[in-house]
Amino acid sequence: MSETSLSKHDYTGVFIGAAIVIVLTLLVAELDLAVSNFFKDQGVSKNPLEYPLIAVIIGLLANAGLRIIGLFERVRPAIRTELFLKVGLVLLGARISIGDLMANGAGGLIQALIMVTSVFFFTWWLAGKFNLPPTLKAVMASAVSICGVSAAIAAAGAVIAKKEEVTYITALVILTAIPLMVVTPWIAQAIDLDDTVAGAWFGGNIDTTAAVVGAGTIHGDKAQEIATVVKLAQNVLIGVVSFALALYFALVVEKDQGQRPSPMMIWNRFPKFVVGFVLVSALASADIFTSAHVSEMQAVSQWAFALAFVCIGIDFSPGALKQMGRGPIIVYIAATIFNTILALIAAGIIFGVLDLGR
């Protein structure tokens, strides 16, 4: 997206875009403080409008403004949601001990295997009933079952999907993830869900990692930690699913085209930032950092997440949804509902009844 060759003209767009994202993020920080103080004055200790929601709203407003003044496409290369998010996740590793990572990661991996398999095949089956093209089925099933945009891009590469299909799924991912980011913490609180189970639910249910972190942040620190670890356990399956998809398309769907995927694809698709996350977590567990340094890293991580949330709002493309018709939207929403219910059951059993997390 942003690493294609850029002309001088494009660099100006990137610079303007980066400046806009930074200024909006500063605005988010200021508004977050003001909103928090407002609720404190009203006797509400916990701010119900946490910064992820404020950031997404600011981003959506900027999105509309940029489209109106015709700058949207020009600044888009600077809208690096995934990059900011991954930087934030690497830093978040300092807050999560390697012991917790192993314990929650094991539970998260079991949940991920159940969720990815069930949701992927449910979406694939339902998309088949609506006669969606195989490439769109693959991209959609990967997005809804693994981790949204990243998985959609990886699957698109594996099955050689159309660019419009990825754009379309990206819009659907954002469209469903933003409400889920706000609603699921509210539901978790309403049904008095344990922090660990709530975190595992967000991690297993919400498609895009940024919204998972956002939901966890809105619910609380513990939920954010668990949600992140569970989502990362799900993220590491991108490579395996991409490889399986490439193999299926090479052997079954497009068997005459002579392309053969290599097992290296599993490593190529592996989310490398997880290595950084685990490394930082291991260093923190070995007491390399002082508590003051961990606190500083948390602050930087929060800034990176705020940048990512602003970018989510800016990057939303409602126009892409009009092009594909109702069928894919119905399939995606049905798959999301299935994902949400199944994730709640799986999180309740794995992290609640079996207590595989901490």
């Binding site: 997206m1 942003s2 690493e3 294609t4 500063l26 920080a29 200021e30 508004l31 977050d32 403080l33 003001a34 103080n37 690096r80 995934e82 990059l83 998010l85 991954k86 930087v87 934030g88 996740l89 690497v90 830093l91 300092a94 490439t135 990243s150 891009i153 990886a154 698109a156 590469g157 050689i160 999907a161 159309k162 660019k163 419009e164 990825v166 190529n268 698709r269 989310p271 490398k272 930032f273 290595v275 950084g276 996350f277 490394l279 930082v280 260093l283 390399i288 950092f289 002082t290 508590s291 003051a292 340094h293 606190s295 500083e296 890293m297 602050a299 930087v300 929060q302 800034w303």
Partner: protein, 145 residues
Amino acid sequence: MAVESKQTPQRSKLGEDWLATIIGLALVAIIALGFIGSGPQKASLLAPAGTEKTVEARAIGGWSVSAKIGGEAISIAGLITRLEDGMTYMLACEDGTITASPATAGDSIQKGYAGIHLVNHCDAEVSIAYRIDSAIPWPIFGIFG
């Protein structure tokens, strides 16, 4: 399926993952090596009337100090905001005022830290807080605060 409408995003995806990892680890290194300061610090003392308290704080500069006698904020005369390694800083409350004395070499203070010793001869409880804020505060300008 038109070839020109297809995409192969593998290369850019890989680049972004490694780029995020490198930036993240670089930020961790910058913070851990102290290039952007010591990180947020706090050391506080609470001495009821007629008692003494000691606390250790990082031997660094840039401390901001607040003091209260019986809940009333008060300034400290002769306060030092740069703490030296292994030194002890004496603070005394007498007749409703808090005064800082010159530092003396401290005993059994862990390396990299300084001691802060408070003697409270006043009639009310004395609280003193040494604080260094985060180098990267969440709100920066405080325009809406």
